[in-house]
Symmetry: C2
Subunit: 397 residues, 2 copies
């Protein structure tokens, strides 16, 4: 063991698990039809409604978050249906790929990476595409760090007679996301980000309008089985609640514990904590003399993306941080490879996770030849935490 | 705590986890692109080949076992393709439901529940259906306990120019299953049965012929994304190995430990242990004066199905066993509801799990009014274990 022998995971999924979440998975496994599991299952289904801010059933699948996105496309899109995907990064492109895979008449509007999707972007794209049945877009784009105003986008989609499906895999539990109030037809998410659980559970909320559209799409030839909404809805609404396929029971136990932590912290408390963590990270980056990628006021508080300065090998930063300091952060993806470093702070994170990561960033950039005053970033983060006061001082667990 | 306060899980998935499998899930979570996870991931991918007895890549999905079955249908079946599902129980019907959901020209041959599918059944069904592209059937039918001779069925399917896809969710790791030697085109399975892991990982082997057929099916309009074989194959074959979507990292860690246990026990050892456990369960049932459901020599060693004698309320048996003795077994499904009780012994089971369950069965049937001599079943099981000798005496862990 040396001074850099402890691991710090600062990636946007998998994210670190609270010890009480980890430990519950080591308990004896439960039969999915036993009363002991059904109690947990029903409690989780109720807890998810709180987190998604919806009265609708939150449908659950044993899958990665992409499975929930696929459920939206499989249930809503029949071959030849006109679909508009509006993306501003790598994860937004997944909607386009999924729609194509399902035979949609796909229109894909791509906004420059690092920018958010403005209401005008959607208006123009809808006008250009003509009669669109469903708009698919992203709440927090994890590849660039930006947050889209999905309430405004939903409003526009609806005015054009289209449904809207949202990828909220990284946004859920980080920033406010009002499924019902904003009339979001589908919100897809997963267990492995701000919900502080391992990957393997996918979630989809479905509005009444979307359920109706799914029935119509089925009549036009849309197809689904494993990700079928009706099948899952029917099972979850039964009492005792049931699942059409064997549920991932250990992950439900983990989620049960994680949701009770979120309930204690309260949703506003969770959002405020993430806001303070993200602000500290951004202030630290600026104090180090580095540049943020993307406009600061458009950031989703999920990841802080740092532009790699000229003269520094961008791909070397995450590698050095991991291999030397054992702090795992992500680099840029696709076109952004080597150009940015992404520090994630969605989930079970506190002030000292940011402090440690900023310190590691300072040391890594210094080692790679950037002119960095050691401690400058950390000082800025400390200042943010001191000013933030109570919310960050409350226990997370 | 009373004398019946300890829980015994005797169901065919979820099955009990070895303590070392449970515990590894409580370790700090790993980033899926970190070297520490990739090492586990690559080792698991290799280990799965051994268990499936194949040189082909075993494709893995974050999903229930049904997800692997869906991958077969989604990749191989274009709308209008003629498909033959041959079933002999509730799980076999899933292939028919999946094929219909994907728009196949489905022919479904149903063999009486409790019987196995004979080669003649398949010959006749193929002759009746005409040109079939794919035959889907079941290795071990968990709802009735029977084992189908999938080597013989594969041979017939191939002679008719059809591919064959096998549901081996409950058979894998219980009975011999030679994917390559028997030329099985697709073998679908899951993590939560004999692989001694929680539910949430699905597996599919794909023969070269099936990969080729999938490319042709895609050209005819077959669609897949989350369960797409090419995408997953490409990722798994990369070095470092990668996954198109976030893998269920905790379940891979669990599977890594479980596969190492299977490797130490050896596959023949695992099969022999299950054979002895199942024989002991069957002899016990007969010694209790009860009847087995389905011919004894057609049993898959996965579950022992007991016919509920006249005068006993069949649905009360599993309920009493669970509520009073805390031994969880399954009843019959669909048409078999109330008619049979199923004791599962696939996975992390040893002699004393059978002894305890037989004792619970004796007490439950006695309480419900059947004429049972207490201890008779247990004595028969003991006799089997004593005669079996070494294989069951080896440590499982």
């Amino acid at each position: 063991m040396n001074v850099f022998s402890k691991d710090y995971l600062m990636t946007a999924g998998p994210t670190p698990l609270p010890p009480q979440v980890s430990q519950v998975m080591a308990e004896p496994i439960l039969y999915h039809r036993a009363p002991a599991f059904i109690e947990i299952y029903e409690r989780v289904l109720t807890g998810l409604k709180t987190v998604f801010q919806t009265e609708s059933e939150v449908l659950t699948f044993a899958a990665s978050g992409t499975g929930a996105m696929e459920s939206a496309v499989a249930n809503l899109v029949a071959p030849g249906d006109r679909v508009l995907a509006v993306s501003c990064g790598k994860f937004g492109e997944r909607w386009a790929e999924l729609s194509e895979a399902y035979g949609a008449d796909l229109h894909h509007h791509q906004v420059e990476w690092g920018r958010r999707i403005e209401p005008e972007d959607l208006e123009q794209a809808l006008a250009a595409a003509g009669d669109v049945r469903v708009v698919f877009t992203t709440h927090s784009e994890t590849s660039t760090g930006v947050l889209n105003d999905v309430a405004a986008l939903a409003d526009i989609a609806h005015r054009h007679g289209a449904l809207i499906g949202i990828d909220a895999v990284s946004a859920l539990g980080v920033v406010d996301l009002q499924t019902d109030a904003w009339e979001l037809d589908v919100v897809a998410s997963g267990s492995q980000k701000a919900l502080m659980c391992p990957p393997g559970l996918a979630f989809a909320t479905v509005s009444d309008r979307a359920h109706e559209a799914a029935r119509e799409a089925r009549a036009r030839g849309a197809r689904s089985y494993y990700f079928d909404w009706e099948k899952t809805l029917k099972g979850q609404r039964k009492r005792p609640a049931d699942s059409p396929f064997t549920p991932a029971v250990t992950l439900f136990r983990a989620l049960d514990v994680a949701l009770s932590m979120i309930e204690r912290e309260t949703l506003p408390g969770v959002f405020e904590r993430h806001a303070v963590l993200a602000r500290a990270a951004r202030e630290a980056v600026k104090a180090m003399g580095l540049e943020l990628f993307g406009p600061e006021d458009e950031n989703a508080n999920v990841v802080t993306a740092v532009r790699v300065p000229d003269g520094v090998d961008g791909t070397a930063v995450p590698k050095l941080m991991r291999d030397r300091f054992r702090v795992t952060v992500a680099g840029g993806q696709a076109d952004l490879k080597g150009k940015i470093v992404r520090v994630a702070h969605c989930g079970y994170y506190g002030a000292f996770d940011i402090i440690s990561t900023v310190a590691a960033l300072e040391m890594a950039f210094r080692e790679l030849g950037a002119e960095i005053s050691l401690g400058a970033g950390v000082a800025a983060a400390e200042q943010v935490f001191l000013e933030a006061g109570v919310p960050t001082a409350q226990p997370v667990g």
